[in-house]
């Protein structure tokens, strides 16, 4: 188990090295001089030259990459070209927002997705099944942009039930310790602010969770149906076990393995920042930041951001793989002797 984890983590190094070369070359192959983009219409030759020198753009590419890599090895992601802030700080201030939203969205999606999947599998070919399948098809197909706007129009503008944008009412001053506002508000003993933060989370988490919910529901249903045809399930029925026990203990436990993979993957995607949801709900997360960095040709921010998010994605997948062992004792991770 331990060596498996080590091996997986070891694989991270070449993966990230490859990724760093890939992002570096992509960012530099994209047409458009970052200095020209930053200065816009008012670029004078002097200002352009000064900015290029300042950014190191006047150096050959291999030298730029070499500097970047040696910085990376020293644990330095560099500074954003646009803000001159450390890329690690830029991500650090925004990641809690993304994480909080992703976690809320995936919890919502997992709970309701698995429940819907079980329901559909149990009442296969019934009206419930058809409804879940159609609903999940709609969920996957729904343009998040429209769903978000509709949710805002209905719940914020018309009904005034929920706030419309942002993470917290700006008049609530809560000291930021962790950046996770649900935690910070509790640490500050401000229950009113906690409720405000939770209310701000509802719409974006719902909107962001729609697609994962649909995917999870379909996956759970398929896996359940698959498992339900197996011999040991028939045996369980034959033993006279209650439907509840057969489905929730015998079937679900095995059906959860592929479902968990899907949940883990979806969570990994969500951690990369939900660009559209973050944009609509003015959510100050990493996704929107990264997109703006791309359009500003802020290649240092892009490189650092992609690298960090990729690491996270790999780590999340690793954790999911490890969870297999917990869910299914047949899975042995020692490896090498299959």
């Amino acid at each position: 188990m331990f060596s498996y984890v080590l091996r997986r983590l070891g694989l991270l190094v070449p993966t990230l090295l490859g990724l760093s070369i890939l992002t570096f070359s992509l960012v530099h192959l994209v047409p458009g001089d970052p200095a020209a983009v930053m200065l816009g219409e008012r670029a004078t030759p002097e200002a352009l030259t000064a900015l290029r020198a300042e950014l190191g753009l006047d150096r050959p590419l291999y030298e730029q990459y070499g500097r970047y890599l040696s910085g990376l090895l020293a644990g330095d992601l560099g500074r954003s070209l646009k803000t001159r802030e450390k890329v690690a700080v830029e991500i650090g201030t925004r990641f809690p927002a993304t994480f909080e939203l992703a976690l809320a969205a995936i919890l919502f999606a997992a709970v309701f997705g698995v429940a819907a999947g079980i329901l559909a599998a149990r009442k296969r070919r019934s009206f419930v099944d058809a409804a879940v399948m159609a609903g999940s098809l709609a969920g996957v197909s729904m343009p998040i942009f429209w769903l978000g706007l509709l949710a805002i129009l209905l719940f914020s503008v018309q009904l005034h039930w929920l706030p419309l944008a942002g993470r917290i009412d700006p008049s609530l001053a809560v000291p930021r310790l962790s950046g996770f506002l649900l935690i910070d508000t509790l640490l500050a003993g401000r229950f009113d602010a906690f409720v405000d933060v939770a209310r701000h989370l509802v719409l974006p988490a719902w909107v962001l969770g729609t697609i994962p919910l649909a995917v999870i529901a379909r996956m759970t249903r398929a896996a359940m149906l698959d498992v339900m045809t197996q011999d040991y399930v028939r045996t369980a029925w034959a033993k006279g076990l209650s439907e509840r026990r057969v489905l929730l203990v015998h079937v679900l436990k095995n059906a959860l393995i592929p479902t968990m993979t899907v949940i883990g993957l979806q969570f990994g995607y969500l951690l990369g920042g939900a660009i559209i949801t973050e944009t609509i709900f003015a959510w100050p997360g990493v996704g929107r930041w990264l997109v703006l960095a791309v359009s500003a040709r802020d290649f240092r921010a892009v490189q650092g951001g992609v690298l960090l998010l990729a690491t996270l994605f790999v780590v999340v997948n690793l954790v999911v793989d490890l969870l297999y062992a917990v869910a299914d004792p047949r899975v042995r991770l020692a490896g090498g002797d299959e």
Binding site: P31, E41, A165
Partner: protein, 545 residues
């Protein structure tokens, strides 16, 4: 699958379009009542939340170039001189008065006594020197010249070619000596980059100064949550008329529609970056005020005079007669634009109002083409930006409209588009035949439009003068206007230059895009400024409304 998804999407689109006006009706009922009979005496107190599309990049005035940063800093920092509330006239701010020597080379500023920065540091000549000297290219360089990045605005406004030296004559007097006579220099000093910062704070925070903006302005900095909000509060020790608002919060809400909904639902009290297609919705709603003004910008079609047939005057005039700029502004600026006649907006002093512009007259255009020896027209390229710019909401559509207008007079123009950074680079190196481009003014001085965009010096590569218009006559007038210190005489020179430019027709001026700011009806006293500056000192909230 794909077919179903697309159908669902169109269904949703339809549903939303039906829902929008209906909900607008509801929002109207919820909105603050119109304060028709409201009081006109300002009241102190309250918090104003202002929504905008992006966060600030950084908050050190010397380094920044983006509008969203200056929007916040204009409330925190002040300059030696400032723009008047609603015009680009230069008025005293941290300097109570100044003298210009007879040769126009020495400017002596007398500082306002008793002014303190937000951190308690007194405003003195040393602070002015610190704020401006750090930006200059000097030998040896100022100790803070290399701190915090390049001083882009100082460089792009050519300040190193203008300023020879700055010295403190006494504690409260600062003397600038110039390398050459340059009157727009005074207007440059009113720009954001020339704001005076607390040297104490700058020394204390070094590279991180941009996170701790410390000026002398009516509001002081409280908090910045990246991509979310920047909070300012009233500066209790402000030297001038105290601001009315207790707090100002700048909130970033990137999606235009959502920002408008936030205004309608009361989450924010004011906003800018209003889509022209949504502006009407706000304008019709009695709970809100939509402020409009031609922006300090111009969008234009430049003809590269280095490339035939645009070296011929008749061809350039023909294009001016062939293009229906009124129709373009009406159709593609959503009515929120002013057809451009001159290269500068009519809100600036020195604008020549007697020029009426080339009338739309395709027959005349054909005549002119024939006179140029091109009775059957010609083939050419029309370059256009792919994305919206502050002076043109949809350049591609504008290009298509121009293309069809030109076709009507026999000119066959092929559209060419490039990614923005590349586009700018290619155009500034004169690779185009015709191109769309535009400009947003910096200092409110006509020089900043006419000399920058049409002066001979600006044809140097990478060129700002992308028509590559070289007129000795116009250049002489523009340089004389730079050296003249009398504003009335300068205005006359600029009017004359505009008449010559109009005759030579290096551009087809298209439009000045209207700047729009929206507020809830109870927000009073917002001074709309031609430069687009967002200043909240005089703003107050009408209670009970």
């Amino acid at each position: 699958m794909i077919g179903v998804a697309a159908r669902l999407r169109s269904l949703f689109l339809a549903a939303l379009l039906v829902a929008l006006p209906a909900l607008a009706g509801c929002a109207k009922k919820d909105a603050a009542p119109a304060a028709g009979g409201g009081s006109t005496t300002p009241v102190a107190g309250g918090e104003l939340v202002f929504g905008r599309g992006h966060d600030s990049v950084r908050l050190d005035p010397g380094h920044e170039t983006d509008g969203e940063s200056f929007k916040v800093m204009d409330n925190i920092f002040e300059n030696l001189v400032a723009y008047a509330d609603t015009t680009t006239e230069i008025v005293p701010e941290l300097a109570t008065r100044w003298e210009i020597s007879a040769d126009g080379l020495t400017y002596t500023f007398h500082l306002r006594p008793g002014v303190k920065f937000h951190d308690g540091t007194p405003l003195d000549a040393a602070a002015v020197l610190f704020s401006l000297d750090r930006q200059r290219a000097m030998t040896p360089p100022h100790p803070y010249h290399a701190v915090g990045g390049p001083y882009t605005y100082w460089q792009s406004m050519g300040m190193d070619d203008i300023v020879d030296g700055i010295r403190a004559a006494e504690d409260t007097t600062v003397v600038f000596t110039l390398k050459r006579r340059n009157t727009p220099f005074l207007a440059n000093l009113a720009m954001g980059f020339a704001s005076i910062v607390s040297p104490t704070a700058a020394r204390k925070h070094g590279e991180d100064s941009f996170k701790f903006p410390t000026g002398t302005g009516p509001f002081r900095f409280v908090e910045w949550v990246k991509d979310d909000r920047i909070v300012l509060e009233r500066n209790p020790g402000y030297w001038g008329a105290k601001p009315y608002l207790d707090r100002v919060v700048f909130r970033s809400i990137p999606e235009n529609t959502v920002r408008l909904l936030a205004l309608e639902s009361g989450e924010i009290a004011g906003m800018d970056g209003i889509n022209t297609d949504l502006a009407g919705r706000l304008e019709r709603n009695p709970g809100f005020t939509l402020l409009k003004q031609p922006g300090m910008n111009v969008g234009y079609l430049a003809m590269n005079m280095e490339k035939p047939p645009f070296d011929k005057l008749e061809v350039r005039q023909a294009l001016n007669h062939a293009i229906q700029r009124e129709a373009i502004v009406k159709g593609l600026y959503g009515g929120y634009g002013t057809p451009a006649v001159n290269p500068m907006p009519p809100t600036l002093w020195g604008y020549n109002h007697s020029i009426t512009g080339y009338a739309y007259d395709p027959a005349k255009a054909k005549e002119l083409l024939a006179a140029a020896g091109l009775p059957n027209g010609f083939k050419t390229e029309l370059w256009a930006m792919t994305g919206p710019r502050p002076y043109m909401p949809d350049p591609l559509k504008v290009a298509e409209a121009i293309q069809s207008d030109l076709k009507a007079v026999g000119i066959d123009a092929t559209l060419k588009t490039l990614e923005w950074g590349t586009y700018l680079d290619q155009v500034q190196h004169g690779k185009h035949t015709m191109c769309l481009l535009g400009w947003t003014g910096d200092n409110g001085d006509p020089d900043n439009f006419l000399y920058v965009l049409l002066g001979k010096a600006s044809t140097r590569l990478p060129a700002q003068n992308v028509a590559f218009y070289r007129s000795d006559e116009v250049d002489a007038l523009l340089i004389e206007a730079q050296e003249e210190t009398d504003v009335a005489k300068r205005a006359a020179l600029y009017e004359e230059a505009q008449a010559l430019i109009h005759r030579d027709a290096p551009w087809v001026p298209i439009a000045h895009m209207t700047q729009l700011v929206g507020f809830r009806r109870n927000v009073r006293g917002y001074p709309m400024h031609p430069t687009g500056k967002v200043r909240f000192r005089s703003v107050w909230i009408e209670p009970g409304a």
